[in-house]
Amino acid sequence: MRARLVAARAGFGLAWARLRPRGLFVLALGLAAALVVAVIERATAPTSAPDRSLAFASGFVLPLVALGVVSLATGAEELGASVWCLSRHGLSRRASLLGVGLAVVAATALAALVVVEVTLAVAHGGSPGADALTSGWIAALGAAAYGSLALAGARLLRRGRGRYVVVLLDLLLGGGHVWGLPWPRAHLASLLGGPAAHGLSQAESSLVLGAVALGTGLVATVVTRD
């Protein structure tokens, strides 16, 4: 058990060390894209600017930020290979990947919080607005789900290129499509004031997002060879 804890801690440290140099660059890119849209929306339709800016940030910026975070944290490698520098010494791959997963979820949630809060402040014209706190945690939950999903995708294809596939599938199927239930897009939109996803209440959608955030990454970790 102690060895697994050491491995998980080392995995978290490994992902954090990989994120540290270029993670801020990914955040800055996402923030810049969201801010440009917020400024344009504010200039054209000030009343609907917060909603539209938030929809853009949650629908496009957060998945791409999550993709960037996962690419950095895994060293753009397949999931099992991404922790080889730990597992080669005899540390458990699964436990190390659990640490990497925790770092990814924490980093994507934090990035989402920053992006959404700053975007809302700009869209509201300087003040954060009454819905800032609620939107913040919803975005953090959604981004964590995207991060976990992209991490699971990194289990597939050579050099973990499956992470691109799952984000693309979310873009194609994640709306109101009949296959869209397990993808975060519709649930995130529903929680942020959009139409209900597949007839589910907001509480149920948040449960689905939570399950995706916890489940997909965990499953990908468990099915990896130790």
Partner: protein, 347 residues
């Protein structure tokens, strides 16, 4: 009814007395960079120093990646200490490895060393002392050769490895460190570890190995005791002669130390002489005596190592010939007569 046992190429040449430490059972696989396949390899390696000769395209990189558990085999099983390193963290704990492409934990060298040795139970302070000023640097600021140096020290600091895997160990190595590496490898082997050196040249293998494996285009074509190799990697001295070539050859032919001697005239009056001896020193001493006797004028000389192709050709154990196609046997046991030739069509 028992399944037929896979035949191991050349394994019978050197019986493994102790239980094998590393076993490859009909293993096929690829390294992560997909540089070369290993096809259907079956071999058992016990305590001792084993050298696998071959390039990455011959499957040497795949062999290293499979044995240390970096990749799982596509077919077959790889066992190190009885467990599969690609699937069991415990099996990897007993492997100390120097890889061609080093992989260290990002951060400082000190942190990377401490983490690696905390798992294996080695002494990080001695390892850091051996690394000297490298220990204070960031891993990302190190060159490839420096990373390999760090990886080598981590591998050598493993207190009791089951397998010490050294992939091209003499590449990027300071010349002063080579004797130490050889002595540590031998010491580990004497302590019961399986030391597997992958890649490198024939002379490295001859100086270190108890047993030599030869990889050729993804197949393990030979597994021989080192005595076979020592005979083959005896160096040749090539000598360029300006004048007095014939006299020099005559003097060399009289030398007892000289095993092989070939020469070709290079007009006007010159010659190119190749001589083989037990080792380079013996060849040089014989040459010096012959020059003194013959009075030949030399332009220069150089030591030549035998090409890998020559080693492979000499060590290759050809597969046993297939039995001829059996004639149909009649119930009485006597071979039936061949079927009659078809009759010629009548016009």
């Amino acid at each position: 009814m028992t399944a037929p046992q896979p035949s191991a190429v050349g394994v019978g040449a050197l019986p493994v007395t102790a239980p094998p430490t590393v076993e490859l059972r009909r293993v096929s696989g690829l390294d992560r960079s997909r540089r070369g396949w290993l096809h259907d390899a079956t071999v058992e390696l016990g305590a001792g120093v084993h050298v696998a000769l071959g390039t990455a395209r011959d499957g040497a990189a795949a062999l290293a990646a499979l044995v240390c558990g970096e990749v799982a085999p596509r077919h077959g099983r790889v066992l190190v200490g009885g467990a599969e390193p690609a699937r069991r963290a415990g099996a990897r704990r007993g492997i100390a490895a120097l890889r061609r492409e080093p992989c260290l934990l990002p951060g400082t060298v000190r942190a990377a060393v401490r983490l690696a040795l905390s798992v294996s139970g080695g002494a990080p302070d001695a390892c850091l002392a051996a690394l000297g000023p490298l220990a204070r640097r960031e891993v990302r600021a190190l060159s490839r050769a420096e990373r390999r140096r760090v990886e080598l020290e981590i591998a050598l600091a493993h207190p009791a490895p089951v397998l010490l895997l050294l992939e091209e160990p003499f590449c990027d190595l300071e010349p002063a460190d080579a004797p130490r590496l050889r002595s540590v490898a031998r010491e580990r082997a004497r302590a019961g570890a399986c030391v597997l050196v992958v890649g490198g040249g024939g002379s490295d293998a001859a100086g270190l190995a108890d047993r030599v494996l030869v990889l050729e285009r993804g197949r393990l074509v030979a597994s021989q005791p080192n005595a076979a190799l020592e005979r083959l990697v005896a160096p040749e001295l090539e000598v360029w002669v300006r004048s007095g070539g014939r006299a020099l050859v005559a003097a060399l032919a009289a030398e007892a130390e000289v095993d092989t001697l070939t020469w070709a005239e290079r007009p006007p009056g010159g010659a190119l002489v190749s001589l083989g001896a037990r080792d380079a020193d013996a060849a040089a001493a014989a040459l010096a005596r012959a020059v003194a006797v013959s009075g030949a004028e030399l332009v220069g000389f150089a030591e030549r190592q035998p090409a890998r192709d020559r080693l492979v050709a000499a060590l290759w154990a050809p597969p046993p010939p297939r039995p001829p196609r059996t004639a149909q046997v009649s119930p009485t046991g006597a071979p039936s007569p061949p079927p009659p030739a078809p009759e010629e069509p009548t016009p």
